[in-house]
């Protein structure tokens, strides 16, 4: 009997092979992703997943805002409307403009406390139609954000499922847990000051140096598309208000057997 069933199954698969890829295989949900427009991050993560919650956590000055602006620039360049729920009103429009974010396509909601942030996010998710909704809780005290119950993140995730909206959460610690389809952890690395020096010494004449960017250490903590495979180091670039000298950035994986790659750009 089992043999007959197997023979029948193989017969059906042969007959439908040209029309249906795998008639008896469970269908895999294709997750559409949108690039960060930072090649190293895109290579690590395959991009921001649509219809899912992405969490970027990290300490202060770890580069979360830089990733946020890159995501906004990517989405607004594609013609999508974006929304930012700003937990403590720290968004800088000048940085965004320098990052090529189309400010006319950005809805900025300036909140004062966590309750306002969560309610505003609820309203935006109910309204729908946004390509990217970012909830920025980076500057709020971690112990306050920790008290947000997990069902809130679960509800947010469910609200964006089966839509083309990307929900991006920025905080200091990972709070969304398994509700996040993609979780990145950023760490602070020594910043660069021109003229370049490896010494963390206190410069005597500080007029001779400029803040020249910082390194961002990114670790892929969770991804539904690929297993967590370690981190990559990338280097952030120019200062917002400065001129545009020739810049360099390096990619250096955490594994010791990988060689370094240096890409020079102007």
């Amino acid at each position: 009997m089992a043999g007959k069933v197997a023979a029948l199954r193989s017969q059906l698969e042969t007959a439908l092979a040209g029309r249906v890829p795998a008639p008896f295989a469970p269908c895999r949900v294709q997750i559409e992703t949108v690039p960060f427009n930072i090649p190293e991050i895109d290579q690590l993560t395959s991009g921001l997943p649509r219809g899912g919650l992405t969490e970027i956590s990290g300490t202060l000055s770890s580069g979360r805002a830089a990733l946020l602006l890159s995501a906004f620039a990517s989405q607004t360049a594609r013609g999508h409307a974006c929304a930012l729920v700003d937990g403590r009103d720290t968004f800088d429009p000048y940085s965004a403009a320098a990052a090529n974010v189309n400010l006319e396509r950005l809805l900025w909601v300036r909140c004062r406390n966590l309750d306002q942030c969560l309610q505003a996010t609820d309203l935006l998710l109910q309204g729908g139609g946004f390509g990217l909704i970012a909830l920025d809780l980076s500057v709020l005290p971690p112990k306050t954000v920790r008290y947000v119950p997990l069902n809130v993140w679960f509800r947010f995730r469910r609200a964006v499922e089966n839509t083309s909206t990307i929900l991006l959460l920025l905080d200091q610690e990972s709070n969304a847990g398994t509700c996040a389809s993609l979780a990145l952890r950023l760490g602070f690395a020594p910043s660069r000051w021109a003229p370049q020096t490896q010494q963390m010494s206190f410069p005597r004449n500080s007029c001779a140096c400029l803040f020249d960017g910082s390194q961002i250490q990114v670790e892929l903590a969770r991804s539904r598309q690929k297993s967590s495979s370690g981190g990559h180091k990338i280097q952030s670039l120019e200062r917002v208000n400065g001129t545009s000298p020739a810049t360099h950035f390096r990619t250096k994986p955490n594994w010791s057997d990988c060689s370094e790659r240096v890409i020079k750009t102007k």
Partner: protein, 528 residues
Amino acid sequence: MAFASIYVPDFSIQAVVRNEPSLRHQPIALVEGSPPLEKVTAVNQAARQLGLSLGMTKSQARQFISIAIRPRSCAQEQAAHAALLDLGWSMSPRVEDTAADSIVLDLTGLASLFGSEETIAHLLAQRACGLGLIVHVAVSSNLEVAMHAARGFPGVTVIQPGEESTRLAPLPIQVFSPSAEIDETFERWGVRTCKTLAKLPLLDLSERLGQQGIQLHQWAKGASVRSLILAEPELRFEEEMALEYAVEELEPLSFLLGRLLDQLCARLSARCVSASAIRLRFALDHSYENESSLPLPNGHSDEKRSYYKKLLTLPVPMRDSKMLLRLLRLHLQSDPPRVPIVHIFLAADPAAPRVRQEGLFLPSAPDPEKLELTIARLSNLVGESNVGSPRLMDSHRPDAFEMTRFLPPQNALQAPAIGASRDRMPVAAFRVFRPAPRAKVTLREGLPSHISFADLYGKVVAASGPWRTSGEWWREDAWHREEWDIEIHRHSASSAQPANSSLEPKKGVYRIFYDAMRQAWFVAGMYD
């Protein structure tokens, strides 16, 4: 050529009932005048059957138990008349504004659009119901015959050519609204119907009653011919309601606004336009000062009034009454009138309806109507000035921007510039602290060495500056500051770390500045 006449019986009553549909089947009396001399000026059929008559005083009318008494409202009559004209223009471009309670349409050329004359007449009656009016419709090739038939016959009447005198015969001569003197004369002669009047000799009638007698004779025979006097179409959509008692709460006010918006949107729909803005005006009753005192009735000359005005500008033209009501409620919740309301005035600015062709491969955008509702709710939550799109100002002042209204992307049809953003390198983003917190900075040889602000204390390990900036010296809020970019290794002031602690101190790159005007240090923000 055919004409359709639309007549609204008991027009004053219907103008009031239009905003209170629950009264339609109840006996109603309208009163007019100054108290205590208010007298009944209009009654409907149900009130007549109960025994009410014109000229009774209000107190006499109150003796009838089930009577609903309302003040006569010129504003509502104007709105009802405007709705009647909108009904006419929704069907035909040639409309005559005959009287407050009737209009005449030219039906030439409408057969291919709407069908036969009878179909058109029924459609007019049906659309009038949608606007809150119960009408009589009469169609005839003679304009005057159509007018009089609409006044005389209830429902829909179609008079074929050649049957005018026959069909008008049973009508009473009061449909012609003769003067009181002529009416009395006809009463003495025993002339009560059009048939009797049409049989009178024309010469003798003209000798006794003059030109008016001749005109009445022609009307009775259905022989009078005249041209349509065209009315100029007006795109004016206004609704008013005078309240008998002042309204304080938002819920009953929303109920009344909903009714007015339903009527307004029905009229907009009839004229195939939408609203680009809604103007709201409340007349407030300042004489109603405490809850125990009785409110002064409307029309009292000593009543002190002021107005509450609100302009709701819509991002796209819309005519969904429920959506408009929600938007008005949200605006009223954020900025409610402090005093009870005695009069509501609502107007819509007409605009061409929104036509938008979506593309299959274009990025989706928020629905404009839903977006407007979302933004209104967000404004209620965080304040109107805290929701919108930032726009950079042409100024050297630090953090100079303004919040503008967020509109759905209009140029989504253009090809998005993806290639340009891919080549761009990520920028070290900055977070602005608003307001900038004060800091205590320790200088060593003119350079910052330690800093403390909020509950944090840190050592400066690298610094770049000072970068001086100043401007707008001619203004009171001029600025003059020295900026520094610093990297600090900071410790939380609440926890003292031992020397052999394995924990790394927290690090961060900040921008601080010394404000020469206030002579103090502040933290502008943080690089993140």
